[in-house]
């Protein structure tokens, strides 16, 4: 079994080394193929008899609805939004991720603290502060970053929604009045953050510009290797 630890101070009363299971994170922008790949991984793992728990951003019992409302209505300040997301994350960590790991599940996380940290830093919040907030987070066993060219992201977003998302375009930052331009600038900055984080946190970079099946095969290979080294 892999031995688990927190990034920082962790959570009161939780001994990370007592946790089992595996925490696998997939990071990447909207349109990078995250959700598709997670669905495929779930099928693949369940077929092999592993129990799976899915988590993602803005899915907590505690604040997901309120966060959704805050995003569409009143515009919150960068720090307030950051803390709101941190609350959402902490709730899922304590009530979904940890119980699932204790029960020996593989937790598939559709994004994790890295997206949240990158967003905050791109919005001007202090790197140290953001890092300290997420000192409560558990270090995942595997983190994949699906890297996709911004041009391809745009194509996929249009294909899916016929529009670019306000937040995924960083329109709240005021990079440009033009949604299209803002999207490119914002994604560029996010990728830069992710590249920096890769060195610190050891992401596995996955070329997401390829066909769904090729990406899936890559992910499966890495997970297979991991499970061979650290049987659950």
């Amino acid at each position: 079994m892999s031995s688990k630890q927190f990034y920082g101070t962790g959570l009161p009363g939780v001994d990370a080394s007592q946790l089992g299971g595996a925490l696998v994170v997939i990071e990447g922008a909207d349109g990078s193929g995250r959700s598709t790949q997670i669905a495929l991984l779930k099928d693949w793992l369940e077929r092999r008899g592993y129990a799976i728990e899915n988590v993602g951003l803005r899915r907590s019992n505690l604040v997901s609805k309120e966060l959704e409302k805050a995003k569409t209505g009143t515009i919150l300040g960068a720090r307030t939004l950051s803390l709101f997301y941190a609350t959402d994350f902490a709730d899922q960590l304590e009530n979904k991720i940890l119980p699932a790991l204790r029960a020996g599940f593989i937790v598939l996380a559709d994004r994790y603290i890295y997206t949240l940290m990158a967003r905050d830093i791109v919005r001007g919040l202090e790197r140290d502060w953001v890092k300290s907030v997420y000192g409560i987070a558990l270090v995942p066993d595997l983190v994949f970053y699906l890297r996709v060219r911004p041009q391809l992201l745009v194509e996929r977003n249009f294909q899916k929604n016929l529009t670019l998302d306000y937040w995924e375009s960083g329109m709240d930052i005021g990079l440009s009045h033009d949604l299209f331009e803002s999207f490119f600038e914002y994604q560029k900055r996010m990728q830069k953050e992710f590249l920096q984080m890769q060195e610190v946190y050891g992401f596995k970079m996955i070329n997401g510009n390829r066909a769904i099946r090729s990406v899936a095969r890559d992910l499966q290979m890495h997970i297979e290797e991991f499970l061979a080294d650290y049987p659950l």
Binding site: G8, T9, G10, L11, P12, G13, N61, L62, V63, E66, A70, T74, L76, G77, A78, R79, T80, S82, L83, F84, A86, T87, A90, D91, E94, N95, R123, G124, L125, E126, W129, S132, V133, G135, I136, I173
Partner: protein
């Protein structure tokens, strides 16, 4: 780009005054009287309370009602509430030259979250974006007196107010006693660290208020905060 919260304290034209103390210490009465005085004297003044951000309140209420909160989410959701009021009101008003009065400030979180088991340094770093108040009044009262003021008549205590989530006792009154005792310990330990201005809250209301006003007049150049240009 400058995010909210990174303004240097010395660039703020306004003044920040906070009150802290146990439930039953009378701090809300004191800050209300302070607010009335400053308003009636026509100073630029703004008053804000702990846990009152409209956007976040709904979530906090739900979390408390359904007992969904852990020490960490309890801490984070209160910090979210604080950040919202801070980014939208406290900081802009300080920059605009207001006297901002806060009924409870970060020290409430420092003490409550620590008692709930959160890491003290983590909580302090969480709130590190908040400027230190120019004056923090701590209304100090012997524990038994504070408890007596709240518990007389055996009122219905709210779950979190009584610290029931800590599992100290099944009896809300006993839980409240232990919880408040621990909070008082945290507060008392912060007096010198943060330079609290201690007010003896066992004195009559009006003498406490007199001391509060005196201290403010000594430490803040009040005439500079009067409305100008309008009668």
């Amino acid at each position: 780009m400058t995010p909210a919260g990174t303004v240097r304290a010395e660039d703020l034209k306004g003044k920040l005054i906070a009150v802290e103390g146990l439930d039953g210490s009378g701090k809300s009465t004191q800050i209300y009287l302070l607010y009335r005085w400053l308003t009636l004297e026509k100073f630029k003044v703004f008053f804000t309370e702990w846990n009152s951000s409209v956007v976040v309140k709904q979530a906090t209420k739900k979390g408390k009602k359904r007992h969904l909160l852990t020490p960490t989410t309890f801490s984070l959701i209160h910090c979210t509430d604080f950040a919202d009021r801070y980014e939208r009101q406290v900081l802009p008003l300080l920059r605009a030259g207001y006297i901002v009065l806060c009924d409870r400030y970060v020290y409430t979180a420092f003490s409550r979250d620590a008692v709930r088991g959160c890491d003290r340094d983590w909580v302090r770093r969480l709130y590190s974006f908040a400027v230190k108040p120019d004056i923090t009044f701590y209304f100090s009262l012997p524990l038994q007196v504070a408890l007596g003021r709240i518990l007389v008549g055996r009122p219905q205590l709210k779950y979190h107010e009584a610290g029931m989530d800590l599992g100290l006792s099944d009896d809300p009154y006993e839980s409240f006693r232990v919880f408040q005792g621990r909070i008082k310990e945290e507060y008392d330990n912060m007096i010198s660290e943060f330079g609290f201005q201690v007010i003896d809250a066992a004195q009559p209301v009006e003498s406490q208020q007199e001391q509060v006003r005196e201290i403010i007049q000594q430490r803040i150049d009040l005439p500079g905060f009067r409305w100008r240009g309008r009668a």
